[in-house]
């Protein structure tokens, strides 16, 4: 056979049919979160300081301290960055932003705490802490994912929450690519759209 053996048509659909499916799965996840026994989710706890972590886990002093330091550098790398304290505070609230340690021209939300996942055998996975930030009444990750209310320290999250987040950087300018195609397209001004590149 010289053609693709099988295509999963459901993954190729773009219309309403697909949306209904994803709405269903969202509802399902919601149910699992409430019951707190979803196999795909993970129990986690948020510590706002290293001390809080140590008090609750006296045998894990070094791990708590390391996790906190780790969360600080991860926050610096992955948090959204702003040009001024004010623009940052507009998003995260008054007094909730700090100057970047790596670049004094940047401001980012202050670390609200760090979240660690509960291991199946008991204890916590301090090696992969996820920095969290206070956003209105919720804890959010660097990518904006909400992890529940700020009053709840024990949360149930997706395993994605502990995956490494992408690096962010303050953008100086935009629009430095795309000028050539604009010039080429305006040549064919009778056309109702820009040219494609294939042939």
């Amino acid at each position: 056979m010289k053609r693709t053996k099988e295509i999963d048509l459901a993954t190729m659909r773009k219309s309403a049919a697909r949306k209904t499916t994803s709405a269903k799965s969202v509802m399902l996840t919601g149910t699992l979160l409430i019951t707190g026994c979803g196999s795909s989710g993970q129990e986690a706890v948020v510590y706002t300081t290293a001390e809080q972590c140590i008090v609750e886990n006296p045998d894990s002093r070094t791990e708590c301290e390391k996790a906190y330091d780790n969360a600080i550098s991860e926050a610096e790398r992955t948090a959204p960055k702003y040009n001024s304290q004010r623009t940052c505070e507009t998003e995260f609230g008054y007094n909730q932003c700090v100057q970047s340690q790596s670049n004094s021209g940047w401001f980012l939300p202050a670390l609200g705490g760090f979240m660690v996942g509960r291991l199946t055998g008991g204890g916590y996975d301090y090696g992969r802490p996820s920095p969290v930030f206070g956003y209105q009444n919720s804890w959010v990750g660097a990518d904006g994912t909400s992890y529940g209310g700020r009053s709840d320290r024990r949360v149930n999250v997706s395993k994605e929450a502990f995956k490494s987040k992408p690096t962010t950087a303050r953008t100086i300018s935009r629009g430095g690519f795309g000028s050539k195609i604009q010039a080429k397209s305006s040549w064919g001004s009778s056309r109702s759209r820009g040219s494609s590149f294939g042939g």
């Binding site: 010289k2 053609r3 295509i7 659909r13 962010t168 690519f177 040549w187 820009g194 294939g198």
Partner: protein, 387 residues
């Protein structure tokens, strides 16, 4: 190779909506055309298309290997000097490529003749890998085409496999996909690649070419200020090299699909070098640089810009007379001259075979028809079968 008239599937427009195929009609003209299909024998496909595709690709790679080491040739290829090193390094480091499309004039017998190599930003991918596949499924199901009919089209399977391999080299990294604004066709092509990458387990994000940002610390950013580390761009290298952010490419640490060396593979100057290195190869047409034309003895030839897309700025010369000219905005970088070998004509239509490669492996074909001798972006797309 036959052109066979057939009935359209009554539901295909609804189906197109369901699957998000938006550009089946462009500028009020049909682009996807299933009022006919092409039929090949297995021997035609394997002997005349598939094998030459693999061989020509290897021949083209030999030229890339020659050009990256030769400053005079890099100049002939109109590659700005600033990018010579980054192109050579991408070649010597074996930076992986995803896909290409080689265009052939094929008459159903005799050797298919290479027109050009679209190795950097080929489109008509979704129509090939998915849409014509679905057409054959439907036609076989309804009994209008024999169940034993096949298609030369393992594109989707191969793309997903290729992305799975690439994913291993970029663990936990986001792949940014990018295309220009205001073109459903390019956006649809990139969406299709995104769908394939997702099925290979890759985390994907989309950003328009025009929205890419320059981030502090010499990096590229998307509209969420996320740093771009791995990117598929449906935008030609020859444009990127000449735009404002071009020099930033050298500082920003980004893995690109397609890699830099595709700037040479997709360049039409390659056609002239192919003829120099492999003269009289049955799948090649005699092709020359302008300065070699006095010794070339070409009476009927096609003049093609080194950088050109969708048939723009191409002229056909017969016995010194220009018999056809396609207008366009290209040509300032110079031309190559290729022996005139017209496309086969089926009824009123001239037919071009596009032969796809994924990671250097032949992966299927696309059929394009045009009323004119030169295939352009409004040429219709027709499905094919092997029987």
């Amino acid at each position: 190779m036959l052109r066979i008239q057939c009935d359209e599937r009554p539901h295909w427009r609804d189906q197109a909506h369901e699957y998000g195929f938006k550009f089946h009609t462009m500028h009020g003209e049909p682009y996807w055309d299933e009022t006919a299909y092409y039929q090949f024998t297995l021997q035609q496909i394997e002997r005349d298309i598939e094998d030459p595709t693999a061989e020509i690709h290897q021949m083209c790679l030999a030229i890339v290997d020659q050009v990256v080491r030769d400053e005079a040739l890099l100049r002939k290829f109109q590659i700005p000097e600033l990018y010579w090193d980054v192109i050579a390094n991408s070649w010597f480091d074996f930076e992986p490529s995803l896909y290409s499309r080689i265009d052939f004039a094929y008459h159903g017998k005799g050797p298919a003749k290479l027109y050009e190599n679209n190795a950097d930003t080929p489109t008509s991918l979704y129509e090939t890998g998915f849409w014509q596949w679905l057409w054959l499924e439907d036609k076989a199901q309804s009994g209008q085409i024999a169940r034993c009919a096949d298609q030369f089209n393992s594109l989707q399977e191969k793309l997903i496999d290729r992305f799975s391999v690439m994913a291993k080299q970029h663990p936990n990294e986001t792949l940014h996909f990018s295309a220009c604004k205001d073109t459903d066709e390019d956006r649809g092509t990139v969406q299709y690649l995104e769908d394939c990458a997702v099925q290979a387990g890759i985390r994907c994000k989309f950003v328009y070419i025009e929205d890419i940002g320059h981030g502090e610390g010499d990096c590229f950013t998307d509209t969420d200020d996320q740093v771009i580390r791995w990117m598929f761009k449906l935008y030609p290298w020859e444009f990127m090299f000449r735009e404002e952010y071009g020099p930033l490419l050298l500082k920003a640490d980004v893995s690109f699909i397609e890699p830099y060396w595709k700037a040479i593979l997709s360049n039409k100057a390659l056609l002239a070098l192919l003829w120099q290195k492999f003269p009289n190869h049955p799948n090649l047409l005699a092709t020359y640089f302008e300065e070699d034309m006095n010794q070339a003895e070409l009476t009927n030839y096609v003049k093609k810009p080194i950088f050109s897309r969708e048939g723009a700025n191409i002229s056909i010369i017969e016995d010194g007379n220009e018999i056809y000219f396609a207008d366009g905005p290209y040509g300032e970088e110079g031309y190559i001259y290729q022996a005139y070998h017209p496309l086969p004509k089926y009824g009123d239509n001239y037919t071009l075979v596009g032969s796809w490669l994924v990671d250097g492996q032949p992966a299927g074909i696309s059929m394009r028809e045009d009323k004119h001798l030169i295939t352009q972006d409004l040429s219709r797309y027709l499905p094919h079968i092997i029987l």
